[in-house]
């Protein structure tokens, strides 16, 4: 039973190994990837069910009880995020398989893409599931290093700079992460998260606060929290669509997840936590304004991504059950919709041959399917009801109003404003790219560059994959009831760490 917790990590790793070893067999690579990622969806669903019904599923690796060995934990939060992430990774895999077949033909195998993609999935899964701070670092490294490869794959002169920015900033934050782990270990002598939850509280207050804030900075870089976000809009938009989709959908969310997990399980919060609300507000506004200044579709979406990270920080800053419920709902919604948007952006750039909005036009007429596929997630992201973004936003608004402090009110106002700006940004994309005179697709400016393809060929797997994600976000809205219930219970768990702690430490600690 408990082995199910490890499968989302070990299976993709195994598949990545096989995929590398069988690098010459394209079909086997594809089948392997789809099989494994599809399997993880099922696995994650089972985990979510079990975790929700019977409490966290805990796997003590190597049969060494926590805090000696490494513990994997699937509680409601991790299982839920795992489930939604695996749906996204699965859809994106379909998309990129479709894209590769269209562009290079069926026979073309890759010793890079499939293994790296599977590794990325393994890293993401591990980040959600691990109950160990150092193992979390390893998870981040698996995830990030495969992302480095994916973002610099087939890099061209125009894009190599962006890849460097991404890699270097991520590396720097990884080094801060390891530094943080060293400090944690130096002061507590443990790296098990559940154990840390008990040991950190024995530290003097000042150290607890400093440590908590250091953790915020470390994960803040990965989560693209303002002012640690600058790298993101400079780098994400330069990767090919499926890569950006999975980056935007998942990687920042893993940072958010790590923030939520550590800040709830390990640290307790005092008035200094209000800082988080301020950061949330700035993040929302700076991101949204950034989006308005862009003419490049992908950059615009990237800035919106930053902006909406602010929403999640806001819920975390409110730090109560409804706030965390809102965060969880928002993360779930945002993973899907942001990935969907980038996939559709890929379809758009394929169709138009450009990423510049002012050079597009009349897409609603020329490509109605793309128009629908863009409009739905765009509205969802803007938080227009009845889509999933609205549901999550409502919970956050309730949290903000219920928090009862002026800071919270101010940020709630900021959230409303950001919603409006998001809608504005999306509407501008619509008016520029989808309305107006139909423009002829531009020629591929650089055939070696995968970023802009401009083939004007639509490809069924790509459209289907985008459709799957869009549909998923609709389903999330439809299932808002049960989803909110689970998120609520997950938030309840987070606020009271005992469930997690006793599940992990069990009888191991006297």
């Amino acid at each position: 039973m408990t082995v199910l917790v490890a499968l989302p990590v070990l299976l993709p790793l195994l598949a990545a190994g096989l995929s590398l070893a069988l690098g010459r067999f394209a079909d086997i690579q594809r089948a392997l990837g789809l099989l494994v990622l599809g399997g993880i969806i099922v696995d994650a669903a089972v985990l979510l069910h079990v975790a929700d019904r019977f409490g966290p599923v805990v796997l003590q690796m190597g049969a060494w009880p926590a805090p000696f060995g490494i513990t994997l934990v699937a509680d409601r939060l991790s299982a839920l995020l795992l489930l939604i992430s695996s749906v996204v990774t699965f859809a994106v895999l379909i998309y990129s398989i479709g894209q590769r077949i269209t562009d290079y033909g069926r026979e073309r195998s890759s010793t890079t893409f499939h293994p790296m993609y599977l590794m990325l999935c393994a890293g993401v899964s591990l980040a959600y599931l691990t109950g160990d701070l150092f193992n979390l670092f390893v998870a981040f490294e698996i995830m990030l290093s495969s992302s480095y490869v994916l973002i610099t794959r087939r890099t061209t002169a125009t894009r190599v700079r962006a890849g460097m920015t991404y890699v270097i900033v991520s590396l720097a934050s990884s080094l801060l992460f390891i530094t943080m782990i060293a400090l944690v270990y130096a002061s507590t002598g443990t790296v098990n998260l559940a154990d840390l939850g008990e040991k950190v509280h024995q530290l003097p207050d000042g150290l607890q606060i400093a440590l908590a804030l250091l953790v915020v900075v470390v994960f803040g870089v990965k989560a693209a929290m303002v002012p640690l976000h600058f790298w993101l809009p400079d780098s994400y938009p330069t990767a090919p669509a499926p890569v950006t989709a999975v980056f935007a959908g998942l990687l920042t969310k893993v940072g958010i997840y790590a923030l939520i997990r550590t800040q709830t399980l390990v640290f307790s919060h005092s008035e200094s936590w209000n800082l988080m609300l301020g950061i949330a507000l700035i993040t929302m506004i700076v991101g949204a304004l950034g989006a308005l200044a862009q003419n490049d579709l992908n950059r615009l979406l990237s800035f919106l991504l930053v902006s909406h990270i602010g929403y999640m920080l806001f819920g975390l800053g409110v730090y109560d059950v409804i706030g965390l419920t809102g965060v969880i709902l928002y993360v779930v919604h945002h993973i899907t919709v942001q990935a969907a948007l980038f996939l559709v952006s890929g379809l758009i750039t394929r169709h138009t041959g450009t990423v510049a909005l002012t050079r597009m036009g009349g897409l609603a007429k020329a490509a109605p399917m793309i128009a629908v596929l863009f409009a739905l997630p765009a509205l969802t992201l803007a938080g227009v009801p009845p889509f999933s973004g609205f549901v999550a936003k409502l919970a956050l608004l309730q949290a903000g109003v219920g928090a009862g402090t002026w800071t919270a009110y101010a940020v709630t106002g900021g959230l409303v404003l950001t919603s409006l700006l998001t809608l504005y940004a999306m509407a501008r994309v619509w008016t520029r790219a989808f309305w107006g005179q139909v423009k002829a697709p531009e020629q591929d400016p650089d055939p070696t560059d995968e970023l802009v393809v401009g083939t004007a060929t639509s490809n069924r797997p790509m459209v289907v994959a985008s459709g799957v994600l869009v549909a998923t976000s609709v389903v999330i809205a439809l299932l808002a009831g049960p989803l909110a219930e689970v998120s609520g219970r997950a938030a309840e768990d987070l606020m009271h760490g005992e469930t997690y702690r006793s599940a992990v430490l069990g009888g191991a600690v006297e």
Binding site: Y148, V160, A162, V167, Y185, V191, Q294
Partner: protein
């Protein structure tokens, strides 16, 4: 348990040098900065275990004399990971060299464009969107 002053100074120097190199333009310098930061963090991890002692090999010393093995294991992992990423960044530097003829991290063009726009907007009275469109169609 407290880290001794010598180690503290070493750490301060390694981190300072690493950070300084990190903020340079030459990718090779940045890379060296990362390597040095890696050294610093590994050393920090190791010293986080406590003062020096005997190697944690059973039979060669008493358990009380041994240094804490866990940070060593973690540092070992960190060393290998840093090495892996160093080689990757090296390859990236090389790729940058072959593509661009230099290995510098220059500023982002799109951002520069918006800065130009910002300066022009500050001078003129025009609408930003129109300006953007104008520029894009140029």
């Amino acid at each position: 348990m407290t880290i001794n002053l010598t180690m503290a100074v070493v750490l301060a120097v390694l981190y300072s040098v690493g950070f300084y190199l990190l903020m340079q333009r030459s990718l090779m310098r940045i890379l060296l900065g990362i390597v040095i930061l890696g050294h610093g963090s590994n050393l920090l991890l190791q010293t986080a275990g406590g003062p020096p002692g005997r190697a944690p090999m059973l039979g060669s010393a008493q358990p009380e004399q041994m240094t804490d093995p866990l940070p060593q294991a973690m540092a070992l992992t960190a060393i290998v990971i840093t090495f892996a990423l160093t080689t990757f960044l090296l390859a990236l530097a090389y790729r940058s060299w072959t593509l661009l003829g230099h290995d510098e991290v220059r500023d982002d063009l799109e951002d520069r464009r918006i800065q130009r726009l910002e300066r022009r907007l500050a001078e003129s009275e025009e609408d930003g969107a129109e300006e953007l469109e104008k520029e894009a169609t140029q």
